[in-house]
Every structure is written in structure tokens, then in C-alpha cells.
């Protein structure tokens, strides 16, 4: 029985068994006929020209390859363009565009329901309502795609790469722009997001909730409406990412909400209105990151504990660290602070005087937001100075006892 199964599997996978179909924009052999004629393991070559229509159902394990100049165009009507209803389906170098917008259904350029092993590589998706939509699927790979949304506003655009209740998904080397969320994960396990560019999306560059054991390396999240939001997840690893120009009244470089056990390392936060906003985050290691010219560097609100902030660089932020609490259950050590005014008599590179990164004024602003109108006034400067000399309101435990005199050599 066991042997039979292996033999069947080998047969199924053997190239001798597979054929190649060509799909032409016109004539008898269209994409639709090719798809229905295809057998398991076949390859369909989508020939140059415009292939109109939507609702292409894929029910067999096939590979679809877009030839140069081939476009599948949904003309913004109908529904989802490719619906993957088989395991092991692959898309290669295919251009898909103009998915119908709907307020009821999540139409996508490629939608995968309840499948394993989908592999989408090198495709270009323009004006997808949703571009790539994975649902209850596993072991999928989304790589090297260019995904360009129509820059509609938040309420009538979908996500670039959307994955819901999936396992073991690799998203790598994609460029996503003009969608609601660039990358959206919900109920994901073991997601890996590497080397993607997610820029100028209406809401979040990356948005994930209830997604445990995921890692995010070397991505760039820039100029998104609200930055990156990471919520209700455990074991999150974010290394070497860049969060840039996420600037606006409701924008964050990185929003951490109810996150336990995270590791943030060597990320670069530049010119975000709030680089990291943490609420209810715990057991977090924030190390070696660079915070440059942000409005707020680290905003740590109530319920955050055991956050360790070490060897980071805080340079030229309006507020380096703010908190709404007088208490601090977090550790700061060995960071570089451009606002540090101490000295280093023994020349060991570490300041001799501890640094309190929280200013009185930032504390005030957290508690009374309208006092922000006093930003950059002489009065506030004097108040901060007085507080620095005689601390009364700022958390005295929130202190870096080993502030660096010089920033660590920068990656980038």
C-alpha cells in the first residue's frame, strides 16, 4: 500500500506525464480552453497579447507562465481573475491587471483557497483590488512580484499580499505599492517576510494580527499612510528592516500592540512621526536599531514590561522616549543618545553620568495632549532643564546608565 502510493506520486510528478499548452488571446486555444484542457502537471504558456476576462478557475496542479507581452486583463468587471482550487499551482512572470472593486467580496488577481504549495514568482499585478489573496493555505511562496495598486483610499482598496489563516508562507523580494495594506497577515503561523519593498500604501505597509512565530527581515516600509502595525501576536522577529517617512498625525513607523516575545534588531527608523509605538508589549528585545529624525523615537505606553532597549542609536528625534507612566519596568542600556549632555572622563566611550531619555515635556504631552502646542517654546526648554536638575515627574527608573558617547558604526 505504502509502495503503491510512492509510485503513484512519482508518476504524477514525472515530466513525461506533463504537457505544454499555449493560450492565445483569440482563436480556438484561449486561456479558458487551455485551463480546462490542461492535465495535472501541465504548463500553460500565456502567449503575448491581451487575454480578457475573469473567473479563471484552476482545478489542476499546473504551472502558468506569462510570455513577454502577455497580459490578463479583468477590465474591472466580474470577480477574481485566477481562483486557485488545486494544490501545487505555480504562476511565473505573468502580468495581471484591473480587478473589479467590490465592497462585498474580496476579489483578487490571484486567490488561493484552502490549498498548499502555491508559488507565485516574478508576476506583475496592476490595479488588483486585492492582488494576491491566500486563505487557509499553507507552504506557499510569493516571490519577486511587482504589485501596483490604484492608489485609491483606504475604504475602497484591498491589500497587496493578503494571507488569512495560513501556515508557512514565504513572502520575498516583492514590491508593493498603492494598496490598502501592502502585506496583510491574519492568523498566520510561520510567515517569513524577506527583502520586500512596501511603499505608499493607503494604510499599513505591513499589517499583521494574531500571527505567531513570524519573521521579517530586510524589508523597506516607507511612506505608508499609517506605517507598520503588528498586533496580538507572539514571537515576532524583525531584523534589518527600514521604516522610513511614515509621517502623519495617525502614522507610525511601527505600531506594536499586545505583542509578546519580540526581537527587533538592526532596524532603521528614519523620519517617522512615531518610530515605535508600543502598547501592551512585553518580553521584547530592541537592540542595535537606529532612530533618526523621528518625531517620537520610542513611545512606550502602559502595560509594556520587560522591554530591553540596548545598543540603539537615537539621533535627532524630537522626543527620544516617551511614556505615560511614572514607573518603568523596562531596561535601557548602552544606547547612543544625541541629546546626552554628559561627559566621559575615563575615555571608555561610555558616559559617566546616567542619561534620562524621558523629558518632562514629553511626559506632559502624553498626559495632556493639547499641551503639544507649546512645542519649541522657551518656557518648555526651561521646564525640561529644571526637571533635569531636580527630577520630580519623569520616571527615575527609566534611565540609561551606560550611554554611549558616539553612535555605533551604522549599517545601511
Amino acid at each position: 500500500m505504502k509502495h503503491l502510493l510512492i509510485i503513484a506520486l512519482i508518476l504524477w510528478m514525472s515530466p513525461a506525464y506533463a504537457g505544454t499548452q499555449k493560450a492565445y488571446p483569440t482563436g480556438a486555444s484561449t486561456l479558458r480552453t487551455a485551463l480546462s484542457n490542461a492535465r495535472e502537471g501541465d504548463t500553460i504558456l500565456v502567449m503575448p497579447g491581451e487575454h480578457s476576462g475573469s473567473g479563471y478557475d484552476i482545478t489542476k496542479r499546473i504551472t502558468i507562465i506569462g510570455m513577454k507581452g502577455a497580459v490578463v486583463d479583468g477590465h474591472s468587471s466580474g470577480g477574481t481573475i485566477f481562483l486557485v482550487n488545486a494544490d501545487g499551482v505555480a504562476f511565473r512572470t505573468l502580468t495581471i491587471r484591473n480587478v473589479a472593486v467590490s465592497y462585498v467580496d474580496d476579489h483578487a488577481a490571484i486567490k488561493v483557497l484552502n490549498r498548499v504549495g502555491t508559488d507565485i514568482d516574478g508576476c506583475r499585478i496592476e490595479n488588483g483590488f486585492f492582488a494576491i489573496y491566500l486563505s487557509k493555505s499553507a507552504n506557499c511562496r510569493v516571490a519577486n512580484n511587482t504589485i501596483i495598486g490604484a492608489m485609491r483610499d483606504e475604504s475602497n482598496s484591498g491589500n497587496g499580499i493578503h494571507a488569512w489563516t495560513c501556515r508557512n508562507i514565504l513572502v520575498t523580494g516583492n514590491t508593493i505599492t498603492g494598496h490598502r495594506d501592502g502585506i496583510y497577515f491574519e492568523f498566520m503561523r510561520q510567515g517569513t517576510v524577506l527583502n520586500n519593498h512596501s511603499e505608499q500604501n493607503a494604510r499599513y505597509g505591513l499589517h499583521f494580527m494574531f500571527s505567531d512565530s513570524c519573521s521579517y527581515h530586510n524589508n523597506v516600509f516607507a511612506s505608508n499612510g499609517a506605517g507598520v502595525a503588528v498586533m496580538f501576536s507572539h514571537v515576532v522577529e524583525m531584523i534589518g528592516n527600514t521604516f522610513r517617512n511614515n509621517w502623519g498625525p495617525t502614522s507610525y513607523g511601527l505600531l506594536l500592540k499586545e505583542i509578546k516575545e519580540g526581537h527587533l534588531k538592526d532596524n532603521h527608523f528614519e523620519r517617522n512621526s512615531i518610530a515605535i509605538h508600543a502598547e501592551g508589549a512585553g518580553h521584547f528585545l530592541i537592540e542595535g536599531n537606529t532612530f533618526i529624525r523621528n518625531g517620537y523615537g520610542l513611545r512606550i505606553l502602559g502595560g509594556c514590561e520587560e522591554i530591553t532597549v540596548v545598543r540603539n542609536t537615537f539621533d535627532g528625534n524630537t522626543f527620544d522616549v516617551t511614556t505615560n507612566s511614572r514607573e518603568s519596568f523596562n531596561t535601557f542600556s548602552g544606547n547612543y543618545w544625541s541629546s546626552y549632555e554628559g561627559y566621559d572622563l575615563d575615555h571608555d566611550g561610555v558616559g559617566d553620568v546616567p542619561h534620562h531619555p524621558v523629558r518632562l515635556y514629553s511626559q506632559l504631552v502624553e498626559q495632556m495632549p493639547s499641551s503639544v502646542i507649546l512645542l519649541h517654546t522657551a518656557f518648555i526648554t526651561m521646564l525640561d532643564l529644571a526637571e533635569r536638575i531636580i527630577p520630580t515627574v519623569t520616571p527615575d527608573l527609566l534611565v540609561d546608565n551606560k550611554p554611549l558617547m558616539k553612535p555605533r558604526a551604522q549599517q545601511q
Binding site: R293, T377, A378
Partner: protein
């Protein structure tokens, strides 16, 4: 008018020969060049420059305006014995000292900014406009003080206290009110308080041009909405104009009745 213009020429000539005016210009040029050289023409530069402008212009105006009244006793006495109206003398003196300082400020910041090619950036332009308005406002106030308070030392004291009130204490008052009324929506009240103080008004207008609203959360959004709309622009310019004209006219009245 003709007499005012003629007198203005001599007052300006007198002020132009003052070392303080040259120092004032050089100071702004040095600070601007320094900030542009070390930080580039970004928000940080403008914030640094703005802090200097908001403190120094009202202080310099308070000091030099008040002193100017007293230093020009002789000029006033000479002119009063000529067939010249007191208004002409007053306006010539006020404009004669405020305009050179205004020009020194604009040149001091404008020339280095032009060299670095950032002079037409909206934040720099706004800063120049705001600084010019502050110059006219605080020289007007200083002139009023100089005319009303006879004793030079006392006048300097009053001028300094008024500077301290506008530049520092007023913000303390705003903060106190914010704390006391923390449970109430304060956006409208804070807009009103900001509009009433020319220094705060200048600061907010400059900050809004370089996108600081984003840092200011909901308050920032409310401010941006107010100051971005025609009504807000009209109200804030009116405030600056009233802050200039009111002291000028009260000062002119006091000057008209003053004995020399």
C-alpha cells in the same frame, strides 16, 4: 508724509551707523550659515533658527526700541522746535529704527539661505515673514514703553518684563490653564490663546509649514485646519496687524502729550 519720509532718512542713517545693527545682522547670518552648514536645510535647521528668531527678535526690539526713544531725545527736541508735527516725528522714529532691524534680519538669514539655495523653501519664507512681523510688533511695543516710561532704566525694566511675558510667562499660563482644564476640550481655547500672543502665533505658523502638525496629534490637526483656512489666515494676520498698530497709536497719543 513728505516730512516723515525726510526725517526717516536721517533716523535710518543714524541707526545704520550703529554697531549693534551690524552685530545683529552678522549674528543672524552666522547662526543661519552655521545651521545650514552643519545640518543642511531641513526642518531641524528651521527649528533651530526659529528658536533663535522667536527669542531674539522680541528681545532685541524691546531693548533697542526702548533705548532708541531715550537716545533720540535730542533728535526729538530738535525736531519739535521745527515746523514738524509730532506724528511725523513719531512715525519717522518708529519706522527708522524698526525697518533697519527688519532689513538686517531678512538679509542676515536671507543671504546665507540664498547661498545654500533654500531661501524660497516655504519654511524659510514663512520664518522670514514671521520674523518681520515680530520685528514690527515688538518695536511698536518697545516704542510705547519708551515714550510712556520717563526713566531710561525703568523703561528698560518694563521692556524686559514685557518680553519675558510674551516669550516665556505667557506659555507658562497656557500650560497652567491646560493642566487646570485638562478635562475639557481645549483646542479652540488654545487657538485663541496662541492667536493673542504674536510670538506663539509666529511659532505655530512656522511649525505648520514644515509638517510639524503630524507630531501634534489631534491638536495639530485642529491647528492645521484652522491656520490653513482663509479665516485662520485672516484672523492671524489681523492679530499681528493689531499688535503692531495698537501700540503704535497708543504710543503716538502718549508722544503727542509728552513734555520734553
Amino acid at each position: 508724509m513728505k516730512t516723515t519720509a525726510l526725517l526717516l532718512k536721517y533716523v535710518v542713517r543714524d541707526v545704520m551707523r550703529s554697531r549693534w545693527l551690524a552685530l545683529y545682522l552678522i549674528f543672524f547670518a552666522a547662526v543661519t550659515e552655521g545651521l545650514l552648514y552643519f545640518t543642511g536645510g531641513e526642518a531641524k535647521t528651521v527649528v533651530g533658527l526659529m528658536n533663535v528668531v522667536l527669542l531674539l527678535i522680541p528681545l532685541a526690539a524691546a531693548v533697542f526700541g526702548t533705548l532708541h526713544v531715550h537716545h533720540n531725545r535730542d533728535f526729538v527736541e530738535l525736531m519739535l522746535t521745527q515746523p514738524v508735527s509730532r506724528s511725523a516725528i513719531y512715525f519717522a522714529l518708529y519706522l527708522g529704527v524698526s525697518l533697519p532691524f527688519l532689513i538686517a534680519f531678512v538679509v542676515g538669514i536671507g543671504v546665507p539661505a540664498a547661498i545654500h539655495g533654500v531661501v524660497f523653501n516655504p519654511p524659510i519664507l514663512t520664518l522670514l515673514a514671521a520674523g518681520s512681523a515680530l520685528t514690527m510688533v515688538f518695536f511698536a511695543i518697545a516704542y510705547l514703553i519708551g515714550v510712556v516710561v520717563q526713566d531710561k532704566a525703568a523703561a528698560m525694566g518694563v521692556a524686559f518684563i514685557s518680553w519675558l511675558s510674551f516669550a516665556v510667562l505667557y506659555d507658562g499660563l497656557i500650560l497652567a490653564l491646560t493642566v487646570i482644564f485638562a478635562d475639557y476640550p481645549l483646542e479652540k481655547a488654545t487657538i485663541a490663546m496662541v492667536v493673542l500672543n504674536p510670538i506663539d502665533l509666529a511659532r505655530i505658523i512656522v511649525m505648520l509649514t514644515f509638517d510639524y502638525a503630524a507630531l501634534m496629534g489631534y491638536t495639530g490637526a485642529v491647528f492645521q485646519e484652522f491656520f490653513g483656512a482663509a479665516t485662520g489666515i485672516i484672523i492671524s494676520s489681523s492679530s499681528l496687524i493689531v499688535w503692531t498698530l495698537l501700540p503704535v497709536f497708543i504710543g503716538r497719543r502718549a508722544f503727542g502729550r509728552k513734555d520734553w
